[in-house]
């Protein structure tokens, strides 16, 4: 079942002679239950792709549809609501609010989105699975990089999103933690029936992906052969 559809996306920055064509005719589909990896070097356009997929930026041309609804036609308020209700973001840094404990990170979300979040019991199960159930009264500053990233993943899943968008979730993690995060994202995609899209330049995540896309100079190609390499 298609959850996110990007059709003929182009994105330009600047005008005239300084105009840069960042994304070129991108066509991309994400389905529930699948982990999609978008791999590319720095400056290839993968972050721009992620922000357009998440409704944070509008494409210069093309269409983004979330569960069949055009993002272009939404007001800013509707886009805020869409991101809150349907998308979970896992970012590279500044993921967690430093002055809130792990437990309070979820409370903050609950204060804004009062319904259709994970139940307390489901959250406990999730935290246990992520091995962070004992960290609920700790502040982000008291956690390791891996623990912070796992809390960020839990927070992204707390609102029961249809899509999880992750930006370099394994940056600054050691190999052991990369494997751990890869497994978590893969399992969550399948068990929570969520479409997970990860943009990264970390090839160690390839083995966990259902689909691997390569992005280079703004052009995206499906390259599932990378999984066999």
């Amino acid at each position: 079942m298609t959850t996110l559809q990007l059709s003929n996306i182009n994105k330009y920055f600047g005008t005239g002679s300084s105009r840069v064509h960042v994304l070129r005719d991108i066509n991309f589909t994400a389905k529930k239950g699948e982990l999609n990896l978008v791999i590319g070097p720095s400056g290839s356009g993968k972050s721009t792709f992620l922000t357009i997929a998440g409704g944070l930026q509008t494409p210069s041309t093309g269409e983004v549809e979330l569960e069949g609804q055009s993002v272009k036609s939404m007001s800013n308020k509707q886009r805020d609501a869409m991101r809150l209700n349907k998308i979970g973001f896992v970012l590279q840094a500044y993921n967690l609010i430093p002055y809130l404990t792990v437990k309070e990170q979820f409370q903050l979300v609950k204060k804004v989105k009062k319904e259709h979040n994970l139940t307390n019991l489901s959250l406990e199960v999730l935290l246990k699975r992520l091995d962070i159930e004992d960290l609920q009264n700790k502040y982000p500053g008291e956690l390791s990089g891996g623990q912070n990233q796992r809390v960020a993943i839990a927070r992204a899943l707390y609102t029961r999103p249809d899509i999880v968008l992750a930006d370099e979730p394994t940056a600054a993690l050691d190999s052991e933690r990369v494997v751990e995060v890869g497994k978590i994202l893969q399992t969550l995609a399948r068990e929570q029936n969520t479409a997970v899209i990860v943009v990264t330049h970390d090839l160690r995540l390839v083995e966990f992906a259902d689909n691997v896309y390569q992005i280079m100079d703004g052009q995206m190609t499906l390259n599932n052969n990378m999984k066999l390499a």
Partner: protein, 353 residues
């Protein structure tokens, strides 16, 4: 509220220092306001106690009661009814061996007119004879007692203190109420001068004589020597402190917001509405100012208890409340710049792109 309280709870030292700064500003503003009101009150205490609305002076006296002399001829056609009274003013220095000399204002009254009749005493009795005086309680604070005999300037005549009265100060100096005939003696003027001024309970009191001019109470007070200059100085000091507090609060909130901009960008990316973040900033600003204000009020109250009576301070709750509300509004104003920053946070900035 949630975000602001949690942040203050986590960053106790940082926010403690900010609140400390606001406490000092509030305390300074309260003390200065009280001092300004205390001094202003000591200029006008006696006038306020008469409950008059207008005052008639010689038109060439430059609105100064001390410089004004009203002759019998000038008031010939004026009917001094029960709501009007003569007052004769003379600056004197009181002397009594073993006591400090006091610079004071002698105010001569007619015992059958309303100012003398309405005089409220804290002890003793009203003036009944020419050599008797009722004095401000500053004399009592300085060791004078009922029955003490005092002299004025280099004159030999003695006057007996028969009563003490509260809040009887004119131009900061304590007032001595006596008989108007003694004012004539002190001024060394003959019987053709009846008083320095005629005060009235009516605002529209006018005399027929062209040499006399009627002033409203506020116009008369504003012309008291040094009164307006002193009040303006305090008003400017308090206004500048308000502006300084506005800048301090705005700068602190600006710095704090800039430090949190990446977190706010993440929250915006996650769909947290800008109004939630704006609400957090406003409630944080109010929490900081109100906390500072409350501690400032407590410190001011403690200061009021230990302040010596010689320091002219007046703790007027309604006016201090207005100052407090002004400070809270200042805090709200100070949060406007950070709010503008929050409204323009770009969630893309934390993802790149």
């Amino acid at each position: 509220m949630f975000l602001s309280f949690k942040e203050i709870k986590k960053e106790k030292v940082r926010y403690g220092l900010i609140i400390g700064m606001i406490v000092l500003i509030c305390y300074l503003i309260f003390i200065l306001t009280s001092l300004a009101m205390g001094l202003a009150q000591q200029n006008t205490d006696a006038i306020d106690s008469w409950n008059v609305k207008s005052i008639v002076l010689d038109k060439d006296s430059n609105t100064s009661m001390a410089q004004s002399l009203i002759t019998k001829d000038e008031v010939k056609k004026t009917n001094v009814t029960s709501d009007k009274a003569y007052i004769g003013q003379a600056a004197v220095v009181t002397k009594k061996s073993g006591r400090t000399n006091e610079s004071a204002q002698f105010l001569g009254l007619k015992s059958n007119q309303f100012v003398a009749k309405n005089l409220t005493l804290t002890s003793g009795h009203k003036v009944e004879k020419a050599n008797q005086v009722v004095v401000d309680d500053k004399f009592e604070t300085d060791g004078y007692k009922l029955g003490d005999k005092i002299k004025f300037n280099s004159l030999d005549k003695e006057y007996k203190i028969v009563g003490f009265t509260k809040n009887a100060k004119l131009n900061i100096a304590p007032v001595i109420y006596g008989n108007i005939s003694e004012w004539q003696n002190l001024k060394n003027i003959n019987g053709q001068f009846v008083a320095s001024a005629i005060v009235s309970k009516k605002a529209n009191f006018k005399t027929d004589n062209k040499q006399l001019k009627t002033y409203s109470k506020s116009a008369f007070i504003s012309k008291l020597p040094g009164y307006s200059a002193q009040n303006s100085t305090f008003t400017f000091m308090i206004a500048f402190l308000m502006i300084i507090s506005l800048i301090v609060i705005a700068v602190f909130l600006y710095i704090l917001t800039i430090q949190k901009i990446q977190n706010y960008a993440v929250l915006r990316a996650q769909g947290i509405p800008a109004k939630t973040l704006v609400g957090a900033t406003i409630s944080q600003s109010i929490t900081l100012v109100v906390s500072g204000l409350l501690i400032g009020i407590i410190l001011t109250a403690i200061t009021a208890l230990v302040m010596p009576a010689a320091v002219p301070m007046s703790f007027n709750i309604p006016i201090l409340s207005e100052v407090g509300i002004g400070l809270v509004l200042t805090g709200l104003l100070g949060s406007l710049i950070p709010i503008r920053i929050i409204l323009h946070v770009d969630p893309v900035s934390v993802i790149g792109g």
